[in-house]
Every structure is written in structure tokens, then in C-alpha cells.
Point group: C2
Chain length 116, copies 2
């Protein structure tokens, strides 16, 4: 038997057992079940859980973000509508691409402090 129980899977992936259940509930990694209902994590699930952890940490994103990406990946309609909205060029306003507004806010704050 190569499938791990939730406790073993938790230890080898770095997630807590609680989070493994939460991740399953959000539709991201759903392990098989034994006849009695026990979760059985195979090599594929374990790998997926490790790379998920890596992904979230590297980009500072959340499970809900990945869940949304999954939803876009499975619904062409959603994906196309979102892509369509993003493609609407904001004629005038340059940039502000989600990573920049932080710096924007910070600069403003510094300016206010300097003026005081």
C-alpha cells in the first residue's frame, strides 16, 4: 500500500491535516477515499500539494486565487469575459498593474510626510 493517510500526507507535504481537508473542500486537491471514507493520498496528490505550497509562497497568493484560476481554466465563458474586460484598453491612464499601486501609495505617503 503506497497511499498515505491524512496525517502522513500532512507530515511529508508540510501542510497541516486541517489544511489538507480545507484544500480538498476548495476543490484543489481531492484524494481518493478508502471504503470506510478515509482519505488516501497517492504520489500524485503529494506532489501536487508540495508544488501548491511552493506556488502560494513564491507569489504571495492564496488558495482562493488558485481556485479562481482553476475556475477560469474550466470555463471558457468566464475566461473569455475576464480576458475581454482586461483587454479593454484604459485609453488615458497608464499602468497601475497591481504591483505598482503599492509603490504608488508609498511614494504618496512619503511626499505627505516630507511636506509636513
Amino acid at each position: 500500500m503506497e497511499a498515505l493517510t491524512i496525517r502522513e500526507a500532512a507530515q511529508t507535504t508540510g501542510w497541516s491535516a486541517r489544511m489538507l481537508r480545507y484544500i480538498e473542500r476548495s476543490g484543489l486537491v481531492a484524494p481518493a477515499r478508502s471504503s470506510a471514507g478515509y482519505r488516501l493520498y497517492g504520489p500524485a496528490e503529494l506532489q501536487r500539494l508540495r508544488t501548491l505550497k511552493e506556488l502560494l509562497g513564491r507569489y504571495e497568493i492564496g488558495l482562493s486565487d488558485v481556485a479562481f484560476a482553476a475556475r477560469m481554466a474550466t470555463s471558457a465563458e468566464l475566461r473569455d469575459d475576464v480576458a475581454g474586460w482586461l483587454a479593454e484598453k484604459p485609453s488615458r491612464p497608464e499602468h497601475v498593474s497591481a504591483q505598482d499601486w503599492l509603490r504608488f501609495e508609498q511614494d504618496k505617503h512619503e511626499k505627505l510626510l516630507a511636506a509636513a
Copy 2:
């Protein structure tokens, strides 16, 4: 001058002035500014705000979801890593929890297409 102030923009788009500032802060719709710092909403921004409202309502998604999509659209690295994770085959697609907001049955064929 055809640009509207935040109050006028709020009335014609259905958002509140408060939300227009919030939307700007999340990097989705950033209007131009007057020399005194007043937000100036032009036709492009107004249209964008209306379609944004439509988009959120139609799919029951949030501003943060669209903001994340925007982040993926501007970062090839993020986009590829997320897509790569989603492409890792989930050994058995089953057990998606009772209160599931996805309509898997409807999207099944699209998932097959995306995997091709």
C-alpha cells in the same frame, strides 16, 4: 470638458463614490487626475466600470478575483506557473464537496478541450 467627477461617475455607473476609490486602489480602473488631484472619469473609464459591474454580477466573482486575473495577465511567470500547476493531472477528479459553486457537468467538455 467631458470628464466626469467622481460623484457624477458614480451616478452613471451604479457604483458608489466610495467604491470607485476602492476600485482604483485595487488597480482595476484608474482615472486621470486634474491638476488639483480630482479624479476625472472619461468615456473609457465609465465603460470599463459598467462592464466590470456586469462581469462581477454575472459570475459571482469579486474585485480581488479580477485583480488576480490582471496580475496573471501581466506576469508571464505567474501565469505559466499557475497554468503548470493546474495542468498537473489530478489523478481522480471526484469528490468535490457538496456546496460546490462550480458546475462541473456543464464544463466537462471544455476541460477536455483545455487539456488538449
